[in-house]
């Protein structure tokens, strides 16, 4: 029996987290290969649509990575992301759709090690949680 390999979709902002992920790579930090990265210019470009569509299309978890507050390349994008993610997590939580499958973390361009550690942590949590029930629902 093949063990469950979680599918993690990660929306990473260009200026911070995506670059931090790049740094993880160049400094050869090890982390599980379960993550599928979507490269955005800013975490503020996230719409709850992206998070929920990933979950209904079969992703087991969704990760959003952005710049630390006050460090957004576009000044305020990450503050908007914080509100949007809080909103969608509240909705998912009330409806029992697995709000704990959605993460928002601030990871800067210099935090390569933190990126790798976070990916490892999130993947392990998803492995424990098991497959996302929404992903298998053909009638969703």
């Amino acid at each position: 029996m093949t063990s469950f390999e979680p599918k993690l979709v990660a929306f990473l902002c260009h200026w911070c987290t995506y670059t931090g992920a790049d740094l993880a790579g160049t400094t050869r930090q090890q982390y599980p290969p379960n993550v599928r990265v979507v490269h955005l210019m800013c975490s503020g470009a996230i719409d709850p649509l992206h998070v929920v569509k990933a979950l209904t299309d079969g992703a087991d978890g969704v990760f959003i990575g952005g710049c630390h507050p006050r460090d957004c390349h576009y000044q305020t994008g990450n503050y908007k992301a914080r509100r949007r993610v809080a909103t969608i997590k509240t909705i998912l939580s009330r409806l029992g759709f697995g709000s704990d499958r959605v993460w928002l973390k601030w990871i800067s361009a210099s935090e390569g090690k933190l990126f790798a550690e976070t990916m490892t942590q999130v993947t392990e949590e998803l492995r424990r949680m098991g497959p996302n029930p929404l992903g298998g629902a053909w009638h969703a």
């Binding site: 209904t56 503050y79 909103t87 909705i91």
Partner: protein, 380 residues
């Protein structure tokens, strides 16, 4: 200008035929200080009510100030009358939930508050449009339905044939300050109607040369309101707890929503869903054929049209912070899905998250368009 704060006075309207608020509106139109009145009017078939815009003071005869139905959300109508800038002052007679939606639409720049005066009569609730037509066919039409709703609201025995729309049965915000409030709670029969007015409306009356005697709010009003609000809040808690049981989790939610036919009526009638470029009206979610095939291969099948759950969840994510609980979504749903209670339940959560109350204050920015430097620290 819609007011949500400020000094208010109570004035007495003349009683009887030709008097009351309708008489006042007639006098305002005759003074030419306003260009029109938007208010519920009895339809010629006498089995229904519709919002009508009246410019002639002599045409207010069919006015139904306490309309027992809400066939459209009045805020949408106010938006089409004022969105590109009002040309003349207008008075709109709206229900409390329509007023709250107007306040939200002012924030979204879909209603121009300049030259708009909103009068909100106390509301005992409404029935579905079809229920009224059915009752009218049996000679129990508008007047009898209004009486039954008010009797039930003020502690009398509810009429078993008059069932309120689900959203009304949970509503505990059935009065509103606005520019003026037409009071009815606590009013005995035969008592002259009383209007509570804000400074803007007072100025309008003064400019029209209309002088009204001071009045006092009916003595039983606060108690009547408090009693009904408590009853509705209790009922609301019960209904929302039952709903949560029914829809929590993917399996239950999808079962409860299996009858959704993707007509999107809920979105069409919702006053907050004003975006002409709504995501769900664009081709964004229309995929290339190969992607449908790939999705179908990943799951056991792919329901088409796809994204039913996505539609409801994302509509919530986009508008639930401004949901005013009017329930036209559920009234318009051909499958009678419990959308009004669902949005009320989820709306309440996201509104609490930001300490936001839709309709409370026109100067308060809706959560999606603003943020604080320090908040939601535990969100990640």
């Amino acid at each position: 200008m819609p007011e949500t704060t400020g000094i208010r006075r109570t004035v007495r309207l003349s009683p009887g035929e030709g008097g009351g608020l309708t008489g006042l509106l007639r006098d305002l139109l005759a003074s030419k200080k306003i260009g029109g009145v938007l208010l519920p009017l009895r339809l010629p078939s006498a089995d229904g009510v519709a919002l009508g815009l009246v410019t002639d003071p002599g045409e207010l005869g069919p006015a139904e100030l306490f309309a027992p139905v809400m066939p459209v959300q009045g805020a949408r109508v106010v938006s089409s009358l004022t969105r590109s800038g009002a040309t003349e002052p207008l008075v709109a007679v709206l229900k409390p939930c329509e007023w709250r939606a107007v306040v939200e639409l002012v924030k979204f720049r879909q209603v121009d508050p300049e030259k708009l005066y909103v009068v909100v009569p106390d509301c005992a609730g409404t029935v579905e449009v079809t229920d009224l037509t059915r009752r009218a066919a049996r000679g129990q039409g508008i007047d009898q339905t209004v009486d039954a709703l008010w009797a039930a609201a003020e502690g009398g025995t509810p009429d078993a044939d008059v069932s309120m729309r689900p959203a009304c049965s949970l509503c505990d915000r059935f009065t509103a300050a606005a520019d003026a409030t037409l009071m009815r709670f606590g009013t005995g029969s035969g008592e002259a109607p009383v209007l509570e007015i804000g400074t803007g409306f007072a100025a309008l009356l003064e400019s029209a040369g209309i002088v009204l005697d001071e009045g006092t709010a009916p003595t039983g009003r606060q108690a009547s309101i408090a009693r009904l609000a408590a009853e509705r809040a209790r009922h609301g808690d019960l209904v929302l707890r039952e709903l949560e049981e029914r829809v929590k989790g993917p399996d239950k939610f999808l079962a409860a929503f299996s009858a959704c036919i993707r007509c999107r009526n809920c979105m069409e009638v919702c006053p907050i869903c004003y975006c002409p470029e709504c995501l769900f009206r664009t081709k964004v979610l229309d995929l290339e054929p190969e992607r449908y095939l790939r999705l179908a291969a990943r799951k056991s099948a792919l329901r088409l049209p796809a994204d039913t759950l996505l539609f409801h969840v994302i509509r919530m994510a986009h508008m639930a912070t401004s949901c005013v609980g009017c329930g036209v979504c559920e009234s318009a749903c051909p499958s009678r899905l419990p959308v009004s209670a669902l949005f009320r339940m989820v709306g309440s959560d996201v509104q609490k998250l930001f300490d936001y109350e839709p309709g409370r204050d026109a100067a308060e920015l809706p959560p999606p368009v603003t943020f604080k430097d320090h908040e939601l620290e535990d969100a990640h």
